[in-house]
Amino acid sequence: MVIDTKKCVGCSDCVVACQTENNVPIGYCRDWITETVNGTYPNVTLELKSERCNHCENAPCVRSCPTGASHQLDNGIVLVEHDDCIGCGACIQSCPYDARFQHPDGYVDKCTFCYHRLEKGQLPACVSVCPTHCMYFGDLDNPNSEVSLLLKNRNWKTLAPEAGTKPNVYYLT
């Protein structure tokens, strides 16, 4: 997933779309908006972006899970099998992005990249509703995909790469 911080206006449409699509319980969210203010007045810059599970290549949550409930698909998407989750919290502790939470039903929940929509050939809910089209979703292994070309032509960053997680959500800066 690629997100253009220059286009994001922080409207939270992605958050609401996710909550609706995935029936996220009230008070919880799988994605969220951060506003980062850099510098001191009058020299300030503002960066808005939508954050979620980074579906890390080297996912610490998958490694720390004692039952294998947290697992990674061949395409890189990290999912939680609810019926294997014991709610121990190890994956929540292991995530530098705090992207996971305990669902009121007990199991651990997080962004799935709307896996059920991808299977039908649709985009994740957050990407499909974004009014400024600041989010892109595609195959990073394909050098000619829209996301690969964006990363080739624009400056980008990932979140906390120093945590060694190899995150797969890229932010254009």
Binding site: W32, T36, Q93, C95, A160
Partner: protein, 313 residues
Amino acid sequence: MKEELFISGRHLENIDPHLAVWHWPIAVYLFVGGLAAGLLFFAALFYLLKKEDQMPATTRIATIIAPIALIIGLLALFYDLTHKLYFWKLYTTIRLESPMSWGAWVLMLIVPLSMAWVFSYFNELFPALNKKLSFLNGLQQWFIKNRKYMAMLLLPLSIILGVYTGILLSAFNARPLWNNAILGPLFLISGLSTGAASIILVSKSHFEKNIIGKIDLGLIILELALITHMIMGYYAGTEAHIEAVQYLVGGEFTLMFFGFVVLLGLIVPALMESLELMGFKVPTAVPAVLVIIGGLVFRFVMVEAGQLTQYLY
């Protein structure tokens, strides 16, 4: 240049503004796990060294605490799970990369083993009860015969259990305060030390108290050295580590850490035990109780402060 980060639109329970996913049961479990590891380690060690009769508290009486402590720890762990009815899924797989999976399997082995160890001394520990339950004698004889093998298993398992209580935390690199390689050995030494302190409390033999007291003194000095290394490690680390150690040095956990853990839990008992070994009359129970309280507070400080620390991005 000042950077400020706001997170909006997210108020997750137990996660914002700071992580509080693990509560007091985890700290209690880490403490009793270390305590049981210490008790079982010394019991197995002195049994294998054939000091069984000179060290009755170490090999017999104090080991009663171990299974009780482990069961309290297991109940605490179970209480902290949020998807409790699925706990048995732990035992459907072995995940080598997950310290918690290791811990679950080690507990699976060491809990029955600790019970079997106490049971093998059943007739000596509970002579009155033993008469009523004489039908168990045959089974007990079998355990007595195999005590040596139990001790040989307990020795490595208790070390794994003790180290595991620290590695459970140190394996999370997302929490910089936990993420240091010393935490495993440090929790092991601390667990052995609380185990030794409990033996001193239970023991009635001067000879035994003297030996265990010397060992405990050595462990406390080692623990102080490891804590020094740990603090140095944070300061030599990344910005995330330097930020993290501020909670212990100058931050909200300073009094708990330096007051209750380092001073009252280690330095004071070390001085008292040294004075006693030099021949001064010091009540042995006082340093032992201080060590045990210090060990418990240490687990609480690490569990709670660790969850406040994170990567700054």
